[in-house]
């Protein structure tokens, strides 16, 4: 029973199933009615809140049982010889292990450390029976007496995932269990033990001592191997991981090594006080899981939701790359998880923003699991292989996130291609601007100058015709000069349209004033003498001239006003009139702009405004149109000077 149903499990392409639209419960509805109901009730809730704790009821029951066991064991030991406070260290340690295990299980449901600790709690209860008055119970205690040590070593090897990583680790842990159980056998086979142990086969303290020696040697060797292995792991860990791992490993090894060693050094160091010795040993081992739980929490492992909740979350939320990554990190309990997307078009890996990236070298300690959707590779999960030893949960997560990741991949490709499109549009606009500038300058420096010189020649012709008294030639020269003047006038008009001299010579304010002078309705200009980069001035001039043309064509205004002012980012251009309003720039450039305030007026001059919005967009600016019906039109373009 889980609280968040797996709405999207049907989407797993690895299972060869067809994808389904989001929210479609598909076969789940029939298969798991309760889950479907839950989904209907709370489809959009987030796992962080829900962080399903399926183990909670079970753990609560177990906790109750543990308390009962502890109470029973305490009662059993109550009238035994020896200090009762020392004897109840067993149930106390058991409860500590249990509590640690419960916290670990709740915090990281997918992690087996908690299970090991819970098993440890049971072992501690069993070991505590060693001092029980009943021979059978005491025998159980005698058999498992050394197991707490083995569990401590097991925790060391299994941290942080709870799974044993690598063959060496598995062999060492197996060896430690053998040493703790089998090599401990001589102790109860050849020693009398308490309460007339039924296990004793012979009273041979010498054999028992031999067994203890062998156990110590084997156990010591295995512990040394553990230390070497942990040191090796430490080398491959990140600095942050080392900060967590190092104290833990030191404490763990110290605890596991000191407990048997102290029995040997007991005489010289502590005097003959077995109770004090035992108290120290039990405390060292009993608090071991607390250290592990602290390490788990310190390691930044947020409460994890697990893969199942991850799938529900993906189904319930319009996820974007970062949240998907975060959800995955939570689900896997690995804060370092990264997502790479396969940009098929460019044949390379990219991150969520479409930037090129590389997959890590497998030897680097980073694991890679490919994510496939509909048989194609769409991305990869890059995780901490030292943290997650077994790739199975990662593969499972890969199946769950496949479609969401594919969507992210397409989004990333879209963003990248949009960026390329914007750049190419900017280049085209810049090229057109350059061309206009070149044409205007060529006309000014070339054709216009030559025509002026020709006009001078015509004037000279007229003078010489005058001197000769040649009236025909004079009339011809005059006509020629007037033709040339008319041509020059037409040429000036052309240059004004291509790129006005005022813009090139004095910038936006002068160009705006020149445009205003030629308006058929009173038009005022409020502008400074600031100069801006050429592309900004070109775009700004385009905005002013198009907006004023629209005022003339559509607004029915009695006056217009132009403002050009420098802002922190660049330049702000405002063209407003007192006309009929209702202008709209229908189209995505405006629709995407929240500031656009078209109050339901019918479109007029839409294409002109659309062109304006495009032209401003190319230089990274923003065009807003405020044109309430009957309330005039105000067009504001904000163009940044950067980039």
């Amino acid at each position: 029973m889980h609280f968040l149903p797996s709405v999207r499990t049907a989407d797993r392409p690895r299972n060869g199933r067809d994808s389904r639209p989001e929210g479609d419960l598909g076969p789940l509805a029939a298969r798991d009615g309760a889950a479907a109901q839950d989904a209907a009730v709370a489809p959009a809730r987030r796992p962080r809140r829900l962080a399903a704790r399926p183990q909670l009821p079970a753990l609560a029951a177990l906790g109750g049982a543990a308390l009962l066991l502890a109470a029973a064991e305490t009662a059993l030991l109550f009238d035994q010889p020896g200090a009762i406070w020392a004897l109840i260290l067993f149930p106390a340690a058991a409860l500590t292990w249990f509590a640690a295990g419960a916290v670990a299980s709740l915090r990281r449901p997918g992690n087996r450390l908690g299970a090991i600790m819970l098993a440890g709690a049971l072992v501690w209860f069993a070991a505590g029976l060693l001092n029980a008055p009943q021979p059978a119970l005491a025998s159980v205690g005698a058999i498992v007496a050394m197991l707490p040590l083995a569990l401590g070593a097991h925790l060391l090897h299994a941290f942080p995932s709870g799974r044993l990583r690598g063959r060496a680790s598995r062999l060492i842990v197996a060896g430690i269990y053998v040493a703790a159980l089998l090599l401990h056998a001589p102790a109860w086979l050849f020693l009398p033990g308490g309460a007339g142990s039924p296990l004793q086969v012979a009273d041979r303290p010498d054999l028992a001592q031999l067994g203890a020696d062998v156990q110590d040697v084997v156990g010591g060797g295995l512990l040394l191997a553990t230390a070497v292995l942990l040191a090796d792991r430490m080398r491959g860990a990140t600095r942050a991981q080392r900060r967590v791992l190092a104290p833990l490993a030191l404490y763990g090894i110290a605890a596991v090594a000191l407990v048997p060693a102290m029995s040997r050094l007991q005489g010289p160091l502590l005097g003959d006080d077995p109770i004090a010795l035992f108290a120290i040993q039990a405390s060292l081992l009993g608090l071991l899981p607390v250290a592990f739980v602290a390490a788990v929490l310190r390691g930044g492992f947020a409460p994890t939701a697990g893969v199942r909740e991850l799938s529900a979350w993906i189904g319930a939320d319009g996820s974007r790359p970062a949240p998907l990554r975060d959800a995955l990190a939570e689900a896997l309990g690995d804060p370092s998880v990264e997502l790479a997307l396969w940009a098929g078009e460019r044949e390379r890996w990219v991150d969520g923003d479409g930037r090129a990236t590389e997959l890590p070298d497998p030897r680097s300690g980073r694991g890679v699991v490919l994510v496939e959707a509909e048989g194609r590779t769409v991305g990869a999960i890059v995780y901490d292989a030292t943290l997650i030893a077994d790739a199975a949960p990662v593969r499972e997560a890969a199946g769950v996130i496949a479609l969401a990741l594919d969507r992210d991949r397409l989004t990333a490709e879209l963003i990248a291609s949009r960026e390329r499109l914007r750049e190419s549009r900017a280049r085209i606009a810049a090229a057109a601007d350059d061309e206009r500038r070149r044409i205007a300058r060529d006309l000014h420096d070339g054709v216009q100058g030559r025509l002026v010189v020709l006009g001078l020649r015509a004037g000279e012709l007229r003078r010489s015709a005058d001197a000769r008294g040649d009236d025909d030639a004079r009339a011809g020269a005059d006509a020629l000069r007037r033709e040339l003047e008319a041509t020059l006038e037409a040429l000036r008009e052309l240059v004004r349209g291509v790129l006005p001299a005022a813009l090139a010579e004095r910038g936006l304010g002068a160009a705006a004033a020149e445009l205003a002078d030629r308006m058929p309705l009173p038009t005022t200009v409020d502008a400074g003498a600031e100069r801006y980069p050429a592309p900004v001035e070109s775009a700004g001039w385009f905005v002013i001239s198009e907006a004023l043309a629209n005022v003339v064509k559509h607004a029915g205004a009695s006056r217009a006003h132009v403002v050009v002012e420098a802002t922190a980012e660049g330049v702000r251009i405002e063209v407003r009139d007192d006309g009929r309003g209702g202008a709209t720039a229908s189209g995505p450039a405006q629709a995407a702009d929240g500031a656009h305030a078209n109050r339901g007026a019918p479109p007029s001059g839409g294409s002109g405004l659309r062109g304006l919005a495009d032209r401003v967009d190319v230089v990274g600016g923003r065009l807003t149109v405020d044109s309430p019906p009957g309330g005039g039109t105000r067009i504001v373009a904000e163009v940044p000077c950067g980039s």
Partner: protein, 215 residues
């Protein structure tokens, strides 16, 4: 009379040089950019400086800047600016507070040699010359309803335009083929209608009219 000519296009520079020599000027220096022009004007202190607006190295308005500097530094030197475009703003800058011995014409006016030489002489003798196209733009600017300019008769507008070009009453009379007395009457009526105070001289008259039209 010495003249310094600033013009970056060789053909036109040589052409202008010829025109001025034929008119009896001594061409003291030919400059191809603003800095050269300023240096030559300082060196020769000519009667007249004739210059283009757009010149190297930036091809923006260095000719105009040089002209403004010369007008400020050398009050005895008349300045005639020639350009492919007539900008209201440049005219205002050139007129400044001392609208005497200054002219601003389109380059194409050179072709009408008689008129051009008359304008040059007018500038040299302390007069003011503004290009008819510029004045046309000034007069043609749209104005709010009820503006006094709209109440002028066509003839009054013609007189106003010629005043703005810097012409004297005699020149206006000749151009419009009316008596000078009639011109005086028209001018007086225009002043009344526009609410302008009668100007002390022709230069002041140009300034007042141009300022009025630039409102």
């Amino acid at each position: 009379m010495r003249v310094v000519i600033g013009e970056d296009e060789t053909l036109l520079r040589e052409g202008l040089s010829l025109v001025f020599e034929r008119e009896g000027f001594e061409v003291a220096a030919l400059a191809a950019d603003g800095a050269q022009l300023l240096a030559a004007a300082r060196e020769h202190r000519p009667k007249l400086v004739v210059t283009d607006i757009r010149m190297p190295p930036t091809h923006s308005d260095e000719g105009l800047r040089a002209a403004l500097a010369i007008r400020a530094e050398l009050p005895q030197t008349a300045v005639l600016v020639l350009s492919q475009h007539a900008q209201r703003r440049y005219a205002a800058e050139l007129l400044g507070e001392r609208p005497a011995g200054v002219g601003y014409l389109l380059k194409q006016r050179i072709g009408d040699l008689d008129q051009f030489c008359a304008d040059v002489r007018r500038v040299c003798s302390g007069g003011t010359v503004l290009d008819p196209e510029l004045v046309g733009t000034l007069l043609g600017r749209a104005r709010p309803d009820g503006d006094p300019l709209d109440a002028l008769t066509d003839r009054q507008r013609d007189v106003l335009a010629l005043m703005a070009e810097g012409r004297s009453n005699a020149a206006i009379a000749e151009r419009l083929v009316i008596s000078e007395k009639a011109v005086v009457k028209h001018v007086s009526n225009v002043y009344d209608q526009l609410g302008l105070a009668p100007a002390a001289d022709d230069h002041r008259r140009v300034l007042a009219v141009v300022r009025y039209l630039s409102r």
